[in-house]
Symmetry: D2
């Protein structure tokens, strides 16, 4: 269980850090969608390791291959199968940690759960699995684009460095202009220096990603349990290293009064709109047509280039030594993953929404 | 879609604010569990309206009736059906808002989604539906208790009033000793006065609930998408008025270094434990045997006793006037709901966990 | 698991033979459908016990009550909860079989599965649970009717008495004119006499129900696993006492040559049609617009008014004595159940079908 | 929808006749199972085309490659991803049928459903997709074998040639000794000659496969909707060309009296057994420990080497000419597919069964 996401438009993924390859099966993509393989590949590039000095220097080409479900450039309605072969899977010796539990990694919990574990690079618990999500999310994005919906994420905090500008005041696509993926050039520079410094100190640091979806029609969401923001929250919390999720006013909304927080409705042409948007575009778990926005908190990466105390499978005290090529901060590469998961939720709810009324 | 929660131990609910009744069907409760109807009813009392001066004064008895699935005091493995008849459903006239959209309520979004809405008290979007969750959660709690797992929630913040003590320093069950459900008596008093003041100013305010699960065995969680904390997050975000979720170090963890944040392992008798618990009892989406703890942010209640600008179904500007009996702050009554949803997730994952290994 | 049927339009049922009541929650019924409570009740009458001399003489009123999901006569899109209270549940003493396994009943298997069983009237394994299906199916029928789809079932065989007329040559609604529900009056009379004779010999006999769905649009079905006929087959096989399912040419088709069996296409106005219909209206698991028809085989009822050898929970040889009021042949009352399950499948697939293409 | 089968132990497949490749993702395989890749490959050989003179002469190597989920020869509990690359996908020109609807194929229904179709060899509707099922089923078989459960299928009828021996009187594994897969050597020879004759007449013929599962423990099955035989039935009906399913006494049971049909219980050592087995090993939808057996009816293959009348997408009358390399009778190659699907159901229900009782 746990390797499928979605209800109608859904992905099932497989693959671990050091197996032969990863894959994703996309079910429920409506027939007739133009599938741009180049776009999928370009999304893969945004996530792939080795893309800048502030990410891991590991090399993976992350080349996707579509095996099914697309004919003459269009989706056929049948499952779209894609694979990404691992090219780097034999390059490293893991014997030094094969029986040790790395602190704040999933080594111990996988061992407890399954009684066996693939110790090479964390196996399935490695963020490598998110490559398959990005491939699936790219198809979701193409579907959304067809209906005029866009999803943009960016880095809004690294350690204590917090961007306080509201998203409306920035060009969101500018986030792609720098390696940390922050749309404010000055802050981006600070963040890059900071991450580089953390890296040099053989340590890691956390961050926050903000995501904004525009053009989402009113009416998407499936209360009571599958509220739109509940599914978005689950999607985000399912990404490696995520510790928190808030949408609209979020944790800050707690201190507000109802009279401040309520978003007054007004009529704008033939559309009902709200004057403020503390609701984050979602009311009662259903989109209201305003921008959807939310924050995702990422912890500092667990792999640090320092010696740490731990135990091994035999219960003996051991030292885990930092080694290898790892990210000092996960958020720059997590931006496309956040977008992918958000796109998957929206694509799914868009299709589910077609079944709500008697006539459509 | 959206009215079922869980995979093995799962609940399906029905019912709205002013229908004849609510109901819950519990599937997957293992056979042989002693079912204490009195305990279920006592959980209902903790949630029900009219319980104190700082909650709504509406009266609902919330009496549950078990229709199936229990024989001679024990679960039989077949679905447990329970109903709660609405006793207050005809007491009010809703004609004054029948075509108006109340700000930050779900009136508009339900109307957009379904093209029709039950305007009486919010219909299905009313927090009244959570009564069925509490009934289901009570059975989940009995299952957990059988395996030595406990779930306790409490109010840790109301508006700006924030309890800064860690949960370890308080007796969690003391939360039930006061009407705001905060385990610190001094803070509880402040919170009560504050909510009462907000109520008198015809306004509302938000709050935070903290929840702690103890005794959860290592190994529960279903990566990659159904990580334990992702499902807990979804469960919490599915509760009315929730805007955010964080577990372990949460949003604060963002500013930490990996070297601080990592939880070092040590051997404690025959158990592997961690020295700190920034992980919040979950690593890689799987429980590690430490306490699981998380925070849930609630916005201020949308119904305020003040006039507000809005529009109606015809797109005309209207005034929505505050009326009726509503909660000035939702958190005191939301404590048992948070516990119920957490218990449902844990019961479900406990059973799923039985299928992970070849031999158990 | 196993108490929910359907994917979008789905029902979850609870209730056993001698509990307080039964219930069904219908999720996914599109908003805006006129719900005729009288029609639901009339479907219940067709299934209820005591309706004629050839059914059980047990009395149950089977009165349904709608608790939610319908407002001002229309579905609101939220779950429709219905309950049927058991009125006869205390009328009988089951102590004589409380530890005995009745042959070809589910007493032994429930006991093995759950380690506990509700021995009163078979508990959940009683066909009493199908009352909830009929209530759910009645709502599905109203949805289908809105789209011009009809579902008619009838008894086509009782013991060796087999109706050899194709369904096209009979008025299907005439099945309701007699107590055995066979649309051929002469055959109906024979069947009634035969069942009555079997009843007098304190025995039981099996039968076949044929079901025809008309007006199903081309394009419904979800290959590869959820082919339309596979889901119909599962739906039928989930009904008590069913031993077989075949559609179109069925088991007889085995002996045909491809050149006979293939259904040639021709153009009929703007519609593509087939000259023959050995496919039973389904090709590749997807409806082709022709009539869908299938047969369902029911075994003889296991409860007979005779002494039978068996064992008890302690493994001792015992005699099970026939007692009570039971059906000598299940098919007359099973006709509305077959229709209900077929309607549920078609309603579900109709809605799923809305998600197949990019534009609809 | 429709490309996933199972609830806990489940497979998701992708791939069509002439895409680059097929794949299967197996979720829920318990950790620690020894995975014998050679066995999986040997199951593929049993299904693959070109294996004898009575099957299609098309050549596909059907070589499986495991990409994930297996480490050091054992399942890790994470998804097992396998791919089978198509080697023959470019060998044929399909332009002659690209806009024609082949009679009793899925060309027309796919076109109606999706508005687009992959006309090369039937696309996803081709029985080629069953290769992925066999790969998944092979893993299920290894799990069953670990628990002492075996599944054997064989051809029991081809056209009018019907094997009347009960399965108990034959060595089931002998079915593999001849190319038609009938365990009775004399009948096998007749069947082979008959199929060969049909092939020479450029026609096709149907058949029946019987399947027997031994060693299934009592207690598997999920009433009321997911009865064990209902899921087996769905599994079988989801296979290409299947028209009917019956288990135990099946359609013949209809003519029996309850007094004949009931299976009397007796005590056999510490086991409760039945004297007869008309129930087919399943009572009330739950296994009772006796052999499970059922029949699956296959229609004659739709592709015949003859000219047939049809229409094209433009609604014009056209002739479809028989061409290519096709099976004159599908049953010999369908034997491993039936076994695979049965094994998948049993493996799934075996794991679900672990969640039924409080203590296991």
């Amino acid at each position: 269980m746990g390797n499928t996401f979605g209800k109608i438009f859904k992905i099932t993924t497989f693959g671990e850090s050091h197996g032969l390859g990863l894959g994703v099966t996309i079910e429920g993509c409506p027939a007739g969608l133009a599938i741009d393989e180049g776009f999928i590949q370009s999304e893969m590039q945004r996530r792939k390791p080795g893309q800048s000095k502030i990410t891991t220097q590991r090399k993976e080409e992350d080349e996707i291959k579509i095996l099914s479900g697309v004919f003459e450039g269009k989706s056929t309605g049948t499952p779209i199968g894609m694979v990404i072969m691992n090219t780097d899977q034999k390059s490293k010796d893991y014997s030094h940690i094969s029986d040790k539990f790395r602190p704040s990694h999933a080594d111990f919990t996988y061992f407890e759960k399954y009684g066996i574990r693939d110790y090479r690079g964390g196996g399935r618990s490695s963020a490598r699995e998110t490559a398959a999500r990005v491939a699936g999310g790219a198809v979701a994005k193409m579907l959304l684009q067809h209906f005029g919906i866009t999803v943009h994420a960016y880095v809004s905090q690294v350690g204590e460095l917090k961007l306080d500008k509201p998203y409306q005041e920035m060009g969101l696509s500018q986030a792609e202009d720098n390696i940390v993926r922050c749309p404010d050039p000055a802050m981006a520079e600070q963040m890059i220096s900071y991450i580089d410094e953390v890296r040099k100190s053989r340590d890691t640091v956390g961050g926050v990603i903000t995501c904004v979806a525009k053009g989402v029609p009113a009416g998407l969401g499936e209360p009571v349990f599958d509220r739109l923001h509940a599914e978005l929250g689950k999607a985000m919390l399912s990404i490696n290293a995520v510790k928190g999720f808030e949408y609209g006013s979020g944790f800050k909304g707690v201190t507000m009064r109802g009279s401040q927080h309520n978003d007054a409705f007004y009529q704008d042409g033939d559309k009902v709109r709200t004057k403020t948007n503390y609701s984050g575009g979602i009311q009662g778990g259903i989109s209201n047509g305003e921008d959807i926005y939310f924050n995702v908190a990422f912890k500092p990466v667990a792999t640090i280039m320092q010696d740490q105390d731990s135990v091994n499978e035999a219960g003996e005290a051991v030292t885990v030594s930092g080694k290898g090529r790892h990210d000092p901060c996960v958020v720059p590469r997590a931006v496309p993953i956040v977008e992918a998961m958000a796109a998957l939720v929206l694509a799914d709810y868009l299709l589910i929404g077609r079944t709500n009324k008697l006539l459509i």
